[in-house]
Symmetry: C2
Amino acid sequence: MALKIYGVSRSRATRPLWLARELGLEYEQVPVIQSYRLPDPAAPDAPLNTASPAFLAINPNGQVPSIDDGGFVLHESLAITLYLARKHGGPLAPRDAREEALMTMWSLWAATNVEDNALQVMMHLPAAAPKHDAARAQAAVAALRRPFAALERGLQAGGGHLVGGRFTVADLNVAEVVRYAQPAKELFAEFPAVQSWIAACQSRPAFQAMMAEREKEPA
Amino acid sequence: MALKIYGVSRSRATRPLWLARELGLEYEQVPVIQSYRLPDPAAPDAPLNTASPAFLAINPNGQVPSIDDGGFVLHESLAITLYLARKHGGPLAPRDAREEALMTMWSLWAATNVEDNALQVMMHLPAAAPKHDAARAQAAVAALRRPFAALERGLQAGGGHLVGGRFTVADLNVAEVVRYAQPAKELFAEFPAVQSWIAACQSRPAFQAMMAEREKEPA
């Protein structure tokens, strides 16, 4: 059975979708929609969504992505990418226990120190955003300066990468969280190592192919 | 050089401190205080705290715990416990790649689905809390029902444990996050598997010894 990735591309499923392309994995994407994006997720003709009983039987958290890898079901996007990288090996995977620890550390760091505020930037900063709120956006930008300073220092110490002096699943995980903050151009301008690093991550063919596929989905 | 654990016991350092006792590790605890708990962290006679330049040189995020394991510095409490468990092996550690993935998944799940609301319960629910706020506390309790339902289902499927049918670092990590919500007794009463599980986790001698040590610190 091929790898199944549950989740539309306009979701945190970007993380395993990007990684699968980096690794050249065959996979089937099951386009589960986040229920909050549907007018009536309970409607019987609604597409498969995170509130559908059929999906809740897979992930009771009602979140995407999840994967099914030959019968092994796993949730949490950043854990999924770490698992797939380790399973398939190569330069994106950890080479030893310390690299593995640092990749897990950076993934947890992004989820707990960056993601909430980065999402606030994405939702509230762009003038055209339906929920535009300059004050909330600026508070989030201000709160991101400290983690960005730590990221800057980590990238400087690591020669432009987070772990092992090469692009790994840690860069992928953190870059996909930091991406949400990219409307805050002035924030990135303050941290040149972060700016060069995310540009390098996003210039990778696997990222670009994933984003091109994502653009085909309705916004 | 022995393992150094940075952080007072009244902090997320409980996680590596509990684990170190489970594994019987020798360690030196460096009691770094969270700067927000000090009246003036910038005072030259302040104890070592998360805003001290000496500590920021170790962890630029200004958070505890961090560890130094023979020169290997690692942050993020849940990554530290996963690393130490893997390094030292035994029943708390993952036995294979799937167990490892599930342990990482549950750790990320607790950090992103439970921790913020559990901390709201801890800070605002007890009538004697300095920041008592019944409305905020009840909103957090309400928000925890969904992750608690997922945890209940996971524990039922796992025979009272999260991974591998035995107590592992995944139980330790999740239990230490869920602990913050324990003032909400009615919430736990709704989820009997969660209630039995956390009671079993907290009856472990290593947890009790860690908490006894913690009680000696000023509140």
